[in-house]
Amino acid sequence: MNARYGMTIDIDRCNGCGACMVACAVENNIPPAHAGANDRKGLTWIRVYKVDNGKEYPERRSAFVPVLCQQCGNETPCAHVCPQQAVDVDPKTGVVGQMPERCLGCRYCMAACPYHARYFNWWDPAWPKGMEKTLNPSVAPRMRGVVEKCNFCHGRWHEARERAAANGLAASEPVDYVPACVEACPAGAIRFGNLNDSTSEVAHKSKEPDSFRLLEKLGTDPKIYYHSKRDWVKTIAEAPRPGAGKENVRG
């Protein structure tokens, strides 16, 4: 049976420290920001947004929402539109993969993605002198002019499979495979696992009443489940409503 990897993110536990974003950048050889980069031209495969209940101080309450590629399972919007098969959905894992070395850089997939989880290399990647020594050998850095995004740390998936094979276990579903952000979250807010495996923690958590997915009605069947006991936080899953302090988006 094929795996269907997914995540549950407990918004009530996230204090927006950003460990996941840094760990992701470290793991996937994402370069530091170019001098001209801003929050709309950056490379943040996982990005923590600060959301609020739209009220004014002191009724205002905030929460932090990490958003990464939602790994849509149904008619994956980006994979559907890529003109040259640079995006594919791996049937073995359900992970939406991106092949930067085949990408034309037309950014059609970015326009197609409702979660803005895809990022374009606006500049040549550059690291401070000497820092390239710290690059992760299991991930190839990307060149300028291509799109990239979260792939649940594909490199880690490979290594985990090799380890599993070495230990004589079934390589199909390595037990110790977790993406960097999951490993890094100090609050343990992000959980990762196989949604098809009914015994897994994510399978349970995803079915809880407090769990929800972003823009579920679009019918793209994302595999990232968010979790919060606060009612106003649950409303972030729905379509935007104009007005109400929308001008505040930090993060």
Partner: protein, 426 residues
Amino acid sequence: MDKEFITRGVKRCSGGKFLLWLTPWALLLAFGLYSAALVLIKGLNQTNMDNRFAFGLWIFLDLTVIALGAGAFFTGFLLYILKIDDLKAVINSAVVIGLVCYSGAVCVLAVDVGQPLRAWFTFWYPNVHSMLTEVTFCISCYLTVLAIEYLPIVLKNRRLREVPSMLVFEHELHKLIYVLAGVGTFLSFFHQGSLGGLYGVLRGRPFAFREGLALWPSTFFLFIISAAAVGPSFILLTTWLVEKISRKKLVKPEVPGLLARVSGLMLAVYVLAKTVDTLVWLNRTSPDRGFQGWQYYSWRPFGTWILFAEIVAFGLVPALILLSPKLRAHAGWRLSAAAMACCGVALNRFVMTVQTLALPTLSFDPFMSYYPSWQEVGTFLAVVAYGVLVYSFSFRYFQLFPQERDLRVQAPPQREESELVTAGRY
């Protein structure tokens, strides 16, 4: 002096005057090429596009330009397939316009992708489900076809006709041109459509997403109709413009009327279809996906006025003007209606591309705004200048308007039947 290149018997301004006319455009082209080079060499960071505004000015202009260039295929279709011979008067001009628009669009496209050198991957690893693949294939094929259709026009040049092989090839190719016209029609039909599909299939963008028939969303068909509607209008405008600039009579008076009628007819069909589509989308498609229709229009500055402008002011109104014979006959009305039609379609392309990207999808998204950088504008100006230059040269050295020579003087009307008046006058 270039006199021996100019068709015998047509008047063209002096070479010096021509150069004077070319200079500003040439400068503009140079500037545009410079900015395009910047983008190509330094990368897309030269533009103001970003991860949220992944497409910018260029996609809007590409779509508009290609819609306006649709005159080429639609006129060709009417002339060679439906045999409406009056359109012979403008077909050459239409072909040149088409060529200019399409080649220009393709160049801009090449500038605005991250890795232009990999463009051929699209042919090598085509994803047949992607509208962009369809667009790429059709546009590249159609551009070839247009180039071939342009060939006879070039070879007809007075000096080139001296070369026997060219003379003959032109003659023979012209006999087969209807085949190319047919193919061209087929191709442009599909890529005009898939350009519409481009946004209609974005299920992640409920503002653009449309349900469809068979493989294609409704925008696929709307784009075809609107392109067919605006193509003749644009020819109408350009012809008039050329007549004004060159201070010559270029086509018989009945031709613009015909174009206007065709354009009006298609436009009426389009407005009708568009209205139905909009209603279905606002009341079913969008709400089903959790997005209430009204909220799209509560983001400043995109109020409902844009919907009204698109469908009524620049759709229904020009359609009615062009359809009423009395108004159509009047040049002023005819031309302003044509212009309005063009604006309407441009506005439609703008809404489909830019507004779609500006509107938020996540509840914690802001409304996005974007202003093109001067490099982007420059790249577009390059296309305009390039178009003007190519057209000016074609107009000077080739016969874009076959009727021009006969129209120098009012030739006595010819009657077509050839009956024997009298045998044996002697």
